[in-house]
Structures are given as C-alpha cells and as structure tokens.
Symmetry: D3
Subunit: 61 residues, 6 copies
Amino acid sequence: MPLVTVKAIEGRTIEQKRGLVKDITEAVVKNFEAKPESVTVDIVEISRENFAKAGKLFADS
Amino acid sequence: MPLVTVKAIEGRTIEQKRGLVKDITEAVVKNFEAKPESVTVDIVEISRENFAKAGKLFADS
Amino acid sequence: MPLVTVKAIEGRTIEQKRGLVKDITEAVVKNFEAKPESVTVDIVEISRENFAKAGKLFADS
Amino acid sequence: MPLVTVKAIEGRTIEQKRGLVKDITEAVVKNFEAKPESVTVDIVEISRENFAKAGKLFADS
Amino acid sequence: MPLVTVKAIEGRTIEQKRGLVKDITEAVVKNFEAKPESVTVDIVEISRENFAKAGKLFADS
Amino acid sequence: MPLVTVKAIEGRTIEQKRGLVKDITEAVVKNFEAKPESVTVDIVEISRENFAKAGKLFADS
C-alpha cells in the first residue's frame, strides 16, 4: 500500500505530472517489491505565497 | 487531540462533507474515547490531474 | 481512493484501532460513495513528548 | 532538514504569511540548532467547507 | 523544493530504502526539472497494526 | 485551528521540543491572530535511515 505524496511549487504541466507518477511508481515497485496497483501518488501544488525556505517566501525571492 | 485528514478526489458536495465529518468524528469519539471538541477533521481535495494509481493519473483513466 | 490519516496520542489498543478503521471506512463509503477496497486508513501515534496544545507539550500537562 | 507544515483556514494576507514563516524559521533555528537554509515551511490553506471541529464544518458554524 | 513522503508498511531494509530514495529523486529531477540538492524524501514506516485497507487492519489480514 | 507539523531528524531533547512548540505557537498566535488554545504542534521524528537529501540517506552521509 505505499502512498507517495509529492509537494512542489505549482505550475507543472500535465505531461510533467504524468511522467513523474509513472517513474515514481516504477521506483516503488522496483525497490519495495510492491504491486503497481497498490501504489498511489498524489501531488500537492503549493503557491509561491505559501512556501518558504530560510524564512523567506518564494513569492519574495 | 485526534487530527483526521481525508484525501480524496475533488468534487464532493458540502452535504457529503458535512455527513463525513460528523460520522468520522463519532467514530473517533466512540473508539478512541476522545471528546468531540478535541477532534478535528480536514478534507484535502485533489484534482484528477494530481492523483495517480498504478502509475496512471486519474485524469488519464 | 480516499486516504484517511488519524494522528493521535499513542497508547490505544489494537481493539480500539480495529474498531476505528472499520467505522471510519464505513463513514467514507457511506458519505463519499467510495468502494470499501479503495479506502485506506493509517494511524500515526504520537508520543506525549511530541504533541503540544497551546504551546505546551502533553508530557508537561 | 526540518520541514514545517502549517494547516489553517484560508484567508490570511501575504503579510501575515511572510511574518509567520520568518518567525517559525527562527523558532526552529533557535531550538533545534538548524541552519536557516535547511528549514522549509509550507502553508496549507483549507476552506471553511473542508475543515471541521467537533464534527461540524467551519462553514456551518 | 520538492518534498516527497513515502508511507509504507514497516520492514524494508536499508538497501531497499537507499535504492528507493535514489530512484525517486531521479524521477523528480527528470520530470520536474528540480536540482538534486533541492529534493528531500522521507519514509514513514507504519506498523501492520496501524494500517488498514477496506476497513481491516493489515495485522488482521 | 492552526495545526503545525514539524518533521525533523530524531534525537532532540525534551527541552528542545518544549522550547520549539512554545515559540512556534507564539509565532502562529502573533501572525495569524489565533488563540493559543487553538494551536496544536506535533513533531515527527525521522530516523537517519528514513530521510534523504539529493537522493542520499542521512545514514549514508
């Protein structure tokens, strides 16, 4: 039942997401001996106003 | 202080959400002996473009 | 694909957990029209040293 | 690598968010002896329709 | 800043984890055009007593 | 109802945790105009075997 969550700055295309979930699922199947059907991946897109590094919002960088 | 998070594909009505948080809270109170006021539930709605099973986006299914 | 996560102070018995996941799954099936097999629930147990309310650890309450 | 996530009802201004990520980052640096650059903070804004306490949606309060 | 979290039943070896984080990081770098240093992966291991599918704990399956 | 989660490498003392939750709670109260009693903070401690940066486990660094 591996459940993978990817948090990233918003703005990726559906092609990028399609490739990501395919490759991550393969990585889980290969390394954790999971069945493909048991793997879920969700992508959480975060706006630049809601994400910070070193105390500074990406919107201000 | 039980904190419950429900991730689901977007598109449920407020009536569905209202029923869900009521029933989940009752389940927590009953089984975990928590006070109702101490239970929070949040619902994270995920678009079909951001959720995948078996390496395939729901948007492509 | 509803994915439910319950965070709670550690120390519940397996009987309590068994009851909780059963009832929460039923709540999701009933309100969100999901198939039982599509619902996962995970319980995250947190020690009293790692959980705080109002700025105070449960271990200090 | 401390990763901080703040879930809150939606509607804060960017000024509030700017102040929050700055102060939280300082709190982590001070107490956990982390380097500022290693600290990330993300804010998850939740609508009143998706957040409940005591089994009741904030939208219904 | 992609932050990846993998929830899975406990019990994988460090070799399995080493392979997983390497492959997932490559998947993120390739598809989301992220720098390797910006990608973090954490693995959350869940006991069979704390994970359920279809309302049934893995410990009872 | 702000809910704050801090993920960090395991090994901090209770004094460090006590200070962290106090300061983070103050940061939320000050910037988000929340009541102290409404703020929860939980700390998720991750082993060096379960946390990676740039595709490499902390245990291997």
